[in-house]
Symmetry: C2
Subunit: 764 residues, 2 copies
Amino acid sequence: MRKTTIILAILAFATGLQAQYSPYANKIRLDWDLEYRLPGKSRTQVTEATVPGAVQLDIARAEKYGPYYYNDNWKDYLWMEDQYFTYRTEFERPSTGSNARIFFVSGGIDYEFDILLNGNKLLHQEGMFTPVSLELTGDLSENNILEVRIYPVPKMHQVPADRSQAAQSIKPAVSYSWDWHPRLIPSGIWQESFLEIRQESYIREALIHYTLDKDRSAALIDLDISGVQLQGQEVIWKIRDANDQVVASKIIKPGSDQLRISTRLEQLKLWWPHDHGTPYLYNSALEVRNADNELLQIKEEYIGFREVKLVMNEGAWNEPQGFPKSRSVPPAQVEINGRRIFAKGTNWVNPEIFPGIITDERYDELTDRAVEANFNMLRVWGGGIVNKEAFYRLCDEKGLMVWQEFPLACNNYRSTPEFMEVLEQEAVSIIKALRNHPCITIWSGGNELFNSWSGMTDQSLALRKLNSLCLELDPNTPYINTSPLMGMGHGHYVFRDMDTGEEVYSMMARAHFTAYTEFGMPSPSSIEVLKTIIPANELWPPRPNSAWEDHHAYNAWVGNTWLMQDMIEDYFGETRSLRELVDNGQLLQVEGYKAIYEEARRQKPYASMALNWCFNEPWPTAANNSLINWPNIPKPAFRAVSDACRPVLASARIKKLEWREGERFETDLYMLNDRYRSIPPGRVRVTLVAEGNGELVLLNWDHRDLNPNENLAGPTARGILPKWNTDRFRLVLEVDGHPEYNSEYTLLYQPKQQPVSNPATLNQ
Amino acid sequence: MRKTTIILAILAFATGLQAQYSPYANKIRLDWDLEYRLPGKSRTQVTEATVPGAVQLDIARAEKYGPYYYNDNWKDYLWMEDQYFTYRTEFERPSTGSNARIFFVSGGIDYEFDILLNGNKLLHQEGMFTPVSLELTGDLSENNILEVRIYPVPKMHQVPADRSQAAQSIKPAVSYSWDWHPRLIPSGIWQESFLEIRQESYIREALIHYTLDKDRSAALIDLDISGVQLQGQEVIWKIRDANDQVVASKIIKPGSDQLRISTRLEQLKLWWPHDHGTPYLYNSALEVRNADNELLQIKEEYIGFREVKLVMNEGAWNEPQGFPKSRSVPPAQVEINGRRIFAKGTNWVNPEIFPGIITDERYDELTDRAVEANFNMLRVWGGGIVNKEAFYRLCDEKGLMVWQEFPLACNNYRSTPEFMEVLEQEAVSIIKALRNHPCITIWSGGNELFNSWSGMTDQSLALRKLNSLCLELDPNTPYINTSPLMGMGHGHYVFRDMDTGEEVYSMMARAHFTAYTEFGMPSPSSIEVLKTIIPANELWPPRPNSAWEDHHAYNAWVGNTWLMQDMIEDYFGETRSLRELVDNGQLLQVEGYKAIYEEARRQKPYASMALNWCFNEPWPTAANNSLINWPNIPKPAFRAVSDACRPVLASARIKKLEWREGERFETDLYMLNDRYRSIPPGRVRVTLVAEGNGELVLLNWDHRDLNPNENLAGPTARGILPKWNTDRFRLVLEVDGHPEYNSEYTLLYQPKQQPVSNPATLNQ
């Protein structure tokens, strides 16, 4: 057993706990061991534990497992699912002032656990998102042993061994296996954990809420404090602007029993998504000082003032027509500070299989990527975790809107009393932790709960409870029960439907949705990534029942997902090398994603949202819909999507991928503008370019000026495809004097004499 | 001023207050005067007031107005909308025991009011559904004046003077004028009101809730008592079955601070809708007795044990197909005690314009009619009032399911803090008053709130609050935000669409809805009714700007509703008399309603509900969709609908109303069975009958046995229409040995030489 060295330290860094910073709190770091028992062994093993982390990683390190992301190494971890594990630490009673109290504090322990001090159980808890703040004071001896006993991962049943096992817990379902996630279920202490010495006047919770003036130029700010007992102390509340200037200040004098302070802030700077303004943040600092003006506690957090609404999509009240008449769709149009904003973004999944090892740096670099992709919204998908506080702080700072789902996905979560109790506890913790982040734009009960594969309905008491809790604790942020709702679309996830053969181009052109909240386009990962996960002798040719399948190239979703070599070859002919397979597959991803994002944008204002499935991935896949390979390696589609999401661009509605010599090429032209400012008149030059074969100018479109946030539909460009000696060509849109608005699209070309390889596209 | 004679009486009848009976309470009747001021007069008038009632009726009596339902007399009442009125009563301090307390109790006062005792304001309240229980004890003198000051009716704005004025109150919107309701806005004391002497140990609230065993054969019943202070008293709780046998009994001994009593009931008899079993009720009686075993208080109520759910309609999980994929529809299938029940019923509207004068007898005879119509569900429409307690007690007893809407309709109720406060108060009162009635099957936020003419959305804080309150106070009864929801249909309300000319037959045949929660079919009222509301010289011919229009024959809804003489004449030729107009219009209503009810039933199991618009009416209309004229005069369609809603019947899908000589007649045949028992094989004889012209046998269909709750689709019957000398004929379905399953349909006939009068039906 390792013994913690007691250092009464003032830790300089934020803890992430409860979305609030406590840099001046007295915290004591603990060093932990982990006790476990190997399968078939009677003796227990002990190893050093990394906290935060996961028991699986500690054991893998101790037992010298290979990397979990390589080949089929994930199978090595399966035995751990049904075991108990014990974290153990030893420490001396800290020397403190007479009135100080000692707490064990943890931001989160995954999933069910007991906490024991010197052999006495002080706490049992189910739920990884509810922080632990456990007073030890009266139970401490001179020398102490603190244990955290982790239960087996929650399973509603043993068979089938899939996500349905998670249907009676608030354990993120993804780790029970998904079409891009192996069966690898983490457990253990996953958030910062430490001893904390609190003075008697410790403020446990401080809730800031504000009311904006009607014109949003000022705010009334209320601060509610709970848990404090002021005797000789005073509380000082200061609000600082982004230049560190104090713009408001209030004091609660010693002896006061006033637990609400209010202040007004004039000349308010609002928080905006990064593509519509500055994501302006104020700092709120709450200091507790004693009679000698010594700082006993400081609670800091950031405030971003914004008004967020879901309002009716333009034109949506006109539907449905005729009788019998049903209801109109629910609103899906995000409005921030009175401005209707087209949400361009993506579905965010766990950046690691083991949430305990997600670093602030990983969050930082991935949110940087989101901004680089011209995204303004991240949907934190309900199959995964609610992220650590750093993620939301970064989204606040970078002006990224967050659609936050509760961790329920693709299951029928039945409202048993036991489940409801844990759900309420976890939901309250989640809402309280996140509600003060201005990035939080939409609460959602979870993922795809109202579809056949989940089987939940609006009558679910669990979802009614989530709606009710959000109303109570965060009434000014929209809540939806799930995604998709009526009028929202999920899918498709392939370039061409496996049954109908319909391509993404026409499928999207005839789609009529208020929001495209998931759509995917698979591609193989780059060779460099593949080499890190697939043994060299399995790399070529790819085949099922190999590391390719372990990494989701085969039998991942319906049909031959996600590698889809047959479809790739249908378009490009027989593949002769891994390089060719990857290049052609990635080209389909590039063109497919561009087609969807741009078509969704062309459907503005009725359509108001385009979020692809998915942004990142928690381990390196062999093939997936992601734009970024784990841990942070963009695919070619990342750049293409970034282009498709530029605030202003020229855009063409593509009819199909494959064209033949002599065929009449046609494409509808648009100028897209998501900015709230006018774009002057301009000229768009429309050309078909066949590398080494010259080019064909189709049209020069002189467009009028674009109003703020207005798309402009232009003419249809047409031309007969000449005889070229090539198998592909590009449609190029060039905007005079504004190369930053240019767009281009790669298309396939068939000389006349050759038969078309894919009968399904013959008559399109 | 009238002086109340003090009689310390034990009133023998239930008060309707808070859905609980208090027959042994000491109540003192009060006699009231009403003070009002006529327009343009400075002096106030005083008249005797009828309580419960309405100030409008008291003044009309005093000022000798004609009946408000005659001609345009409703206009006489408009001046009263913006006035204050004062009810006043004088009484001596009742002589009571030393610890007794005196309360002023009222079941409801409409809408905003002050209560003053001897000139001192003791209460201000907004909201007519929250009972008043105001302690007067300490404020009483020897002689007392109690006043209730009624405010002007709530108006969000002065212009436009329509239902939108009700959009910031919980005042039922209908009285601000509707397509079948004049502008006539009631106010005043509308529920039983009296003084009450309460002993110290008075039980204010007793909540019964129960948990059924999984097999529903037994129940655990909990009783929570609040407001009681037991000293020398004991509380005895007895549950009696329908034979008055005590089946459970518990005692709370004096001095106990136990406020929850529990008991188990075995061999439970469940409550069922009348067409699926017995609406079995138990009686719960709670007696408070003193040490001498004297009865101080008794609280009685009825308990019906049932499990109610909204479950997914059969087949609905298979939709939507394809990608992008939206959600599946919300469930609309009522399940009672595990049995899926097709809900046949109607929309219930206020039986009187002035709710204060609705009698128990009116409720009794109208709910009898509902049973007679083979209805099992009443939707209490959100434009009207929440009914008096007697209505729900009668629905409990008669096995009628109630879909109860909160009183919000066709407005955008904005969630201002002021509105939210009144909404919460009223909703809590409504839920507490009704939740223990087994008839309550669905809570709904209100009527048509998610359509363009209302403009509310799922994001409405008001609706989220109602959902939340229902979850908290009555979690086991389904809640929906509004009707129609996705998958539910409202309308059409005419026999033939005014724009497309499509008839009800084909419109319904192509409709695909889980629930038809409103559909109408207008007809003129019978001549006997018309004569009571329209001056003799205006009766024929009908014309706009007359009493006909006052009573909704013209400009009531879109187009030429509700008389629709042009459509009637389009089918039947020029009308020569009032009798002919009424007969032909009523025939369209008969055939139209039959067509919709039967088609909705043929669409079972995907469809699960058919509720017409509307059942009754609050005053006599000249033309309306109602089945019953005010106060209780069935139209011919009432009988037709009753036939269409028989549990078992032969049914034909009609293609159109008008047929021509020599044309091939076609109709699809069905046997419909809503009973949960088998129907043996049988023979259906299908005949066309032209009175005086003989008949044409089309088919004998020998059908197999019908499974419980199963419809059977049969063959299509066909035949060439012979030459007849008639303008109409009947399609007759006769079931051998079961005349109670027979059905018939009236159709129109055109000899060959005549041109068809309506071009729109030419090619059908």
